[in-house]
């Protein structure tokens, strides 16, 4: 959000952060802990993908599970039926998601505000129903397990959780770099203008339909990569997990809680929400259904009512106070 370029201090901080993230699985050997780190990185990445469209252009989708699921199914079908590596399947899944985003966007972008949101929910649910109902397409409701090949890095299968950690860390890094570049490009400014007031943006010559289509392409591509990774990580796929509404919810939630339309917002939001969820589970056990989402929804309400800029808003204020500069943007 700083218009004046990164300061030395933030570059040093970033370098330390990268070093810690790379060293983390070498130091922490507990596979329970690494599993939590992987979840945090994965949902940060999904949040980053959502935030490009939902955060900057304020196109508040609650249907990103559609692309997560398409990515997951494309790579799995290619792997099981055609023995094609999920590394290639992952890209193929991203392309399928991009192709799907064109008609879905054509439909949903006809509506604005809450009705856009509802339309995105409906398209994701419709895709789930298609995969549930048409058994010839892909295993129906039972889903399928991914054949375990042991250590097969070329097939995106690893013996240690640490390897999965580095894959998803790479995805998140790529997502953040893409966000960083877009944020500083003309496209970034156009998207923010559309998010602020679409009619005004069009009046000053922003091609809003094209901008929204393009950012939807990028956002759905990235979300699909997460779908492939997740399926490879849990060795299982079915319509209920691949197209789960909770994926769509969490993508939006981590971004809003962390700071909508900011580079680091989804990451900060995921760290808070996933840590809370892990602590709750260790205190209460997983016996009581609904506890996690009850707490998530209370956090979401609190952020909306008292801190609409999210945690990043609070962090930015504190940062600028300590550096002794005025905030570039409140």
């Amino acid at each position: 959000m700083m218009a004046h370029g990164p300061s030395t201090r933030s570059i040093i901080l970033l370098a330390i952060g990268i070093a810690v993230l790379i060293a983390l699985p070498l130091v922490v050997k507990s596979s329970f802990a690494v599993d939590i780190f992987i979840r945090i990185l994965l949902f940060s990445f999904i949040g980053v993908a959502w935030n490009l469209m939902g955060g900057y252009a304020k196109q508040l989708s609650l249907g990103h599970a559609a692309y997560f699921g398409l990515g997951a199914y494309t790579s799995t079908i290619l792997q099981i039926d055609f023995n094609i590596s999920p590394w290639i399947g992952m890209i193929a899944g991203g392309v399928v998601a991009m192709l799907a985003s064109l008609p879905i966007g054509w439909l949903c972008f006809r509506l604005r505000g809450p009705y856009f949101t509802i339309a995105t929910i409906a398209t994701a649910q419709a895709l789930m129903l298609i995969f549930l109902k048409f058994r010839d397409l892909a295993w129906g409701a039972e889903g399928t397990t991914i054949p375990n090949l042991g250590a097969a890095p070329l097939m995106m299968q690893f013996e240690t959780k640490a390897a999965y950690y580095y894959v998803v860390l790479g995805l998140l890094a790529a997502g953040l770099v893409i966000t960083f570049l877009i944020e500083r490009s003309w496209m970034g400014y156009y998207l923010v203008a559309i998010g602020e007031d679409e009619d005004a943006a069009e009046a000053i010559g922003v091609n809003a339909p094209k901008m929204k289509r393009d950012i939807y392409l990028i956002s759905s591509f990235l979300t699909a990569l997460a779908g492939t990774f997740y399926t490879q990580y849990i060795y299982f796929i079915d319509p209920a997990t691949a197209f789960s509404f909770s994926i769509s919810i969490e993508a939006a939630l981590v971004s809003i809680v962390g700071g909508i339309g900011t580079l680091w917002g989804p990451v900060i939001g995921t760290i808070l929400l996933e840590t809370t969820s892990t602590l709750l589970q260790s205190w209460l056990g997983s016996s009581i259904g609904g506890v996690q989402l009850t707490v998530y929804s209370l956090i979401l309400m609190a952020v909306i009512l008292w801190r609409p800029t999210g945690l990043m808003g609070m962090i930015n204020d504190a940062w600028h106070r300590s550096v002794g500069r005025k905030p570039a943007q409140a």
Binding site: P114, A122, A126, K133, G289, L298, I304, L305
Partner: protein
């Protein structure tokens, strides 16, 4: 042949009456307060649980418990408008969408914690009764629900068109700024709109209870149907929502009859997507926001 079609149409109309109560609430809130209430389905769920517990603990008939569920939810609507929604009304969509969405998540998951995911049913003396008219089969519980639902919708129409408060609500829906200049207190009107909308959802819950199971996710079925009906019937239009809801009920029922038992939702989504593709402003014309 015609009997199967007629039977499917009747089944659809009967359940469409319940959809209408939910969609009228959604469209009323949208018309007057200009927000979409994502939690509307959860208030149907709460209405069902109120009726379930009154029936289970005190043996009160679910239809009688309307006199409890409607006032309780009316009060809930006033409080939610006054303490929550009022704070997020502004030009920005994000807080409005995600506040009611968070409310929906909260109520649903609280219900899951308190009542578990078990299905709850109430058996009444008329639950298994049915009228047989010329080969057609009309379940009494659904018929009562339909008649009461239409009665409540009619009462709302009379309220909106004959009382001062009702006219103030319609005025606020048509042009909020001018209505305020005419001396209408917007927050009071919004509180009443939320109250009525939630009371209708509560009524839908109580009316469903003699023939439908209560469980935490039950509202999602109805709210999805309501969103489609509200788009089809033109946003903010009460009569449009009513007619569209009955059409949705019939379409769903015909889908179940001729495509397959689990195809109800597919028909609904297909209708939503077709509406968006060809008539995003709704069947009654008007302007998409």
């Amino acid at each position: 042949m015609w009997e199967t079609v007629a039977q499917a149409v009747i089944n659809g109309l009967l359940i469409g009456g319940i959809y209408a109560l939910v969609s009228i609430g959604v469209t009323l809130i949208f018309g007057v307060v200009k927000i979409v209430n994502f939690a509307q389905g959860e208030f149907v769920m709460i209405g069902m649980y109120i009726s379930f517990f009154l029936a289970n603990q005190f043996g009160i008939d679910p239809l009688l418990s309307l006199v409890v569920s409607m006032p309780v939810l009316f009060a809930a609507g006033v409080l939610i408008q006054h303490f929550l929604i009022r704070r997020v009304l502004g030009p920005n969509d994000m807080p409005q969408i995600f506040l009611t969405f968070a409310l929906s998540l909260l109520l649903l998951n609280l219900a899951l914690m308190l009542f578990t995911a078990n299905y709850r049913t109430v058996h009444t003396s008329y639950s298994d009764e049915a009228l047989h008219i010329g080969g057609l089969y009309i379940p009494v519980a659904k018929l009562i629900a339909f008649v009461v639902a239409m009665g409540l919708s009619g009462a709302l129409w009379v309220f909106l068109h004959t009382t001062d408060l009702g006219k103030a609500m319609r005025a606020a829906a048509q042009n909020r700024d001018v209505a305020m200049l005419m001396g209408i207190n917007p927050n009071r009107v919004f509180c009443v709109a939320l109250g009525i909308a939630l009371a209708l959802a509560g009524a839908a819950g109580s009316l469903l209870m003699p023939f439908y199971s209560a469980y935490p996710f039950v509202g999602q079925v109805f709210v999805l149907m309501a969103f489609v009906a509200v788009v089809l019937g033109t946003l903010g239009n009460v009569m449009g929502a009513l007619i569209a809801s009955l059409m949705m009920g019939v379409a769903e029922s015909l889908g179940i009859q001729y495509v397959g038992a689990d195809s109800g939702l597919i028909v609904v989504f297909a209708m939503l997507l077709l509406t968006l593709a060809f008539k995003p402003t709704g069947l009654g014309g008007g302007r998409a926001r």
